[in-house]
C-alpha cells in the first residue's frame, strides 16, 4: 500500500511549536524544587512568548514579500494577516504574564499549570488565526476555550471563581455546539471544510442553497457567543467578574481578538458570495452590542464588571468595521485590536494593583482620591480610560477614527452615527472613575492599605502606557502595517 505524505513545512509552525514546548517545559520545571522560589516559572514562559514573537515577526518560513505560504495540505497558512494577529496574541499573553506574577503569589496559585494553560490558550489562538480549514480553526478554538475554562476557575477556594468557570464552560460548549452544526451544514452543502474550497464551490454552484444559509447563520451564532456580541453576551459580565483579574484581562484581549481573526477569515474568505445576507445581520448585531454594552455599563459600581460591559461595547465597535468588509475595514480592525490589547490590559493592571490581596477593592469607592495618594498610578489609569473612551492623543482615538471612517466610506453612515453616539454615552462611565480619582477626597470610611508595585507590574504598565501613547501619536507606521496585512489575505 502506498501512502502519499503531503509536503510538511515544519518551519511554518515554529512559533506554535515554541509556545507548546514552553508550556510543557513550565509544567515539568516545577517538579524540581529550587531555592529561588517559583517566580522563575512566569519568567520562563515570558521568554517563550518573546522567542515566539521574534520568530513570528521575522516571518518564519513565510516569503520575503509577505506572500502567503500554505502548508499541511492547505490547512495552514502563514501570511501577514495571521502574523499580525499572532503578534497581538503574544503581546496580550506577555502582558498577562507580567501582571500575573504577583497576583498568583498572593492568591496561592503560583504554579506551573497556570502559565502552562496560558501558553496552551495562546497556542490555540495562534492556530485559529492561521488555520485555513474549518477543522483547524475549530480545534484551535477548543484548545483556547478549554484552557480558559480552567483558568477562569483557577482560584478554587473562591466561589465566585468557580461559578464563573461553570458559567463560561456551559455557555461556551453550548456555543461550540452551534458552531459545529454550522460547520457540518457547510460541509454538507459544499463537500469540503477548507475555506478556499467552500468559496470556490459557492461561486460555481447556484447561489443560496438553504442548507448553506442555515450553516452560515449557525456559524454566526457560534462566533457571536465567542466575541460576546449582544444577544449572545449574557455570559460575559459574570465570567469576567468572577475570573481572576489577570485572566479577565487576558480573556477580553487575546481570545476575543482570536475569535475575531477566525470570524473575519471564515466570512470574508469562505463566504464572500453570501455577503448580502451576513452584512445586514452583523449591522444589527453591531448596533445592539454597542448600545446595550454601553447602557448597562452606566449603572455599574464594580469596576471589573463595568470593564466587562465596556468590553462588550468595544466588540460592537469592531463589528462596525466588520460591516464594511473592505481593506480599510479589516485594517482598522487589526489596528483597533492591537490598541485595545494595550489599553485594556493596562486598565486591568491597575484594577489588580488596587484590588490587592483577595480582590476585595474593586468597587468605585476604592478609587476615590487615588490621585492624591498615587498620582502616577492615577495618571496611567486616566490615560487608559481616556483611550477606551476614544479621546486624543491616545490609541483608542485613532482606532475609533479609522473604524468610523471605514464605515462611512462604505456607506454605512447610520451605523457610524450610532457608534459615535455610543462613544458619547461611554464618556459618562469612564469619567465616573476619573472623577472619583481626581475630584473626590479619599473617603475616611475606606481603609487604605499601601499599594504594592512589583518590577514586573511596572514593566507591564510602562509597556501599556508606551503602546497607547505611541499608537495614538504616531499611528501611521501601525496603520500601514495593518493595511499590508490585508493585502495577503
Amino acid at each position: 500500500m502506498e501512502i502519499l505524505i503531503p509536503t510538511i513545512k515544519l518551519a511554518t509552525i515554529y512559533p506554535e511549536i515554541i509556545i507548546t514546548t514552553f508550556a510543557i517545559l513550565v509544567l515539568l520545571l516545577q517538579v524540581f524544587p529550587t531555592v529561588i522560589g517559583k517566580d522563575y516559572l512566569g519568567y520562563t514562559s515570558l521568554a517563550g512568548v518573546i522567542l515566539a514573537a521574534i520568530i513570528t515577526g521575522q516571518g518564519g518560513a513565510s516569503g520575503e514579500g509577505g506572500e502567503a505560504i500554505y502548508s499541511f495540505s492547505n490547512m495552514w497558512v502563514v501570511d501577514n494577516y495571521s502574523r499580525f494577529f499572532k503578534l497581538i496574541f503574544l503581546l496580550g499573553t506577555g502582558l498577562t504574564i507580567l501582571i500575573s506574577i504577583k497576583y498568583t503569589k498572593d492568591e496561592g496559585i503560583n504554579n506551573g499549570e497556570y502559565y502552562s494553560l496560558l501558553l496552551f490558550a495562546t497556542a490555540g489562538m495562534m492556530l485559529m488565526a492561521g488555520g485555513t480549514d474549518l477543522i483547524v480553526i475549530f480545534l484551535g478554538l477548543e484548545l483556547m476555550s478549554i484552557s480558559l475554562y480552567v483558568l477562569a476557575g483557577y482560584v478554587r477556594k473562591r466561589l465566585i471563581s468557580n461559578e464563573s468557570a461553570l458559567k463560561y464552560f456551559l455557555l461556551g460548549s453550548f456555543a461550540t455546539g452551534f458552531l459545529l452544526y454550522g460547520i457540518a451544514l457547510l460541509y454538507g452543502a459544499t463537500g469540503t471544510t477548507s475555506l478556499k474550497g467552500i468559496s470556490g464551490f459557492i461561486s460555481e454552484a447556484s447561489f443560496g442553497s438553504p442548507i448553506l444559509i442555515m450553516g452560515m447563520l449557525l456559524l454566526l451564532i457560534g462566533f457571536g457567543f465567542k466575541i460576546a456580541a449582544v444577544p449572545f453576551h449574557m455570559w460575559t459580565p459574570d465570567v469576567y467578574e468572577g475570573a481572576p483579574s489577570p485572566i479577565t484581562a487576558f480573556m477580553s484581549a487575546g481570545p476575543k481578538a482570536a475569535a475575531f481573526a477566525a470570524f473575519l477569515r471564515v466570512f470574508i474568505e469562505a463566504l464572500p458570495s453570501l455577503q448580502g445576507i451576513w452584512v445586514d445581520i452583523i449591522w444589527v448585531l453591531a448596533a445592539l452590542t454597542m448600545t446595550i454594552g454601553n447602557v448597562i455599563a452606566l449603572v455599574q459600581d464594580n469596576v471589573k464588571r463595568m470593564l466587562a460591559y465596556s468590553s462588550i461595547a468595544h466588540a460592537g465597535y469592531v463589528l462596525v468595521a466588520f460591516v464594511s468588509t473592505d481593506k480599510l475595514g479589516v485594517a482598522s480592525i487589526l489596528y483597533y485590536m492591537l490598541a485595545y490589547t494595550f489599553m485594556n490590559i493596562g486598565a486591568f493592571a491597575i484594577v489588580i494593583i488596587i484590588g490587592g490581596k483577595g480582590e476585595e477593592k474593586i468597587n468605585l469607592k476604592d478609587y476615590t482620591g487615588l490621585a492624591y495618594r498615587y498620582p502616577l498610578t492615577a495618571a496611567a489609569m486616566c490615560l487608559f480610560l481616556l483611550s477606551l473612551t476614544g479621546i486624543p492623543p491616545t490609541a483608542g482615538f485613532m482606532g475609533k477614527l479609522y473604524i468610523f471612517s471605514a464605515a462611512i466610506k462604505s456607506g454605512y453612515v447610520g451605523l457610524a452615527t450610532i457608534a459615535v453616539l455610543n462613544s458619547v454615552i461611554s464618556v459618562y462611565y469612564y469619567m465616573k472613575i476619573i472623577l472619583a480619582m481626581y475630584m473626590k477626597e479619599p473617603e475616611s470610611s475606606v481603609q487604605h492599605s499601601p499599594l504594592v508595585f512589583t518590577p514586573a507590574m511596572i514593566i507591564a504598565l510602562g509597556l501599556a502606557v508606551y503602546g497607547v501613547l505611541r499608537m495614538g501619536i504616531f499611528p501611521s507606521a501601525y496603520i500601514s502595517m495593518a493595511q499590508q496585512s490585508y493585502l495577503s489575505f
Binding site: 478554587r156 468557570a165 459544499t190
Partner: protein, 163 residues
Amino acid sequence: MFYIIGGVAVLSALIMVTNKKPVSAAMSLIVVMFCLAGIYVILDAHLIAALQIIVYAGAIMVLFLFVIMLLNIQEKEGRVAKHKIFFQFTWILATGYVFINMVKLIGAGDLPARMEGNIDGFGTTRVVAEILFTDFLLPFEIASILLLAAIVGAVILAKAKIE
C-alpha cells in the same frame, strides 16, 4: 431499521430532557448513543460506530455516572422560578420555530451532489487512518495538545490539595 433506531433515539432523548433524576438521564443518553452507533453502521461508518460506543458510551458517560455518584446529588431540583418561566417559554418557542423552519428547509433543500469516484473500503479503519495521518496531520497534532491541556486542567481543578 433506520426508523426504529431513530424512533428509539428521539424517545430516549426526550426522556433524558424531561427526567428528574440525573442517573436516569445519563442512562437514557447512553441509549441515544447506542442508537447513533447503530445508525453509523447503517451509514458504513464502522470505525466511528465503534468509537462512538467506546469513547462516548464507554468513557464519557461512565465519567458522568462517576461524578453523579461521587457528588450524591440530592433531588431538589424543584420547580423553576416563576419569573423565569416566561423566559424559558420564549426560548422553547424560539427553538421550536427555528427547528420547524430548519426541517422545512432541509426537506425542500436541493441536496448536494454525490462526488465522483468510489472510495475503496469506505469508513474502515484503514481508510480513516490513511487520511488522518496524511491530509489531516496538523489537526491530529492539535488534538494531542488539546488533550494534554485538558488533562492538566482537569487535574488542577479536581485535585484535593495543591501544594
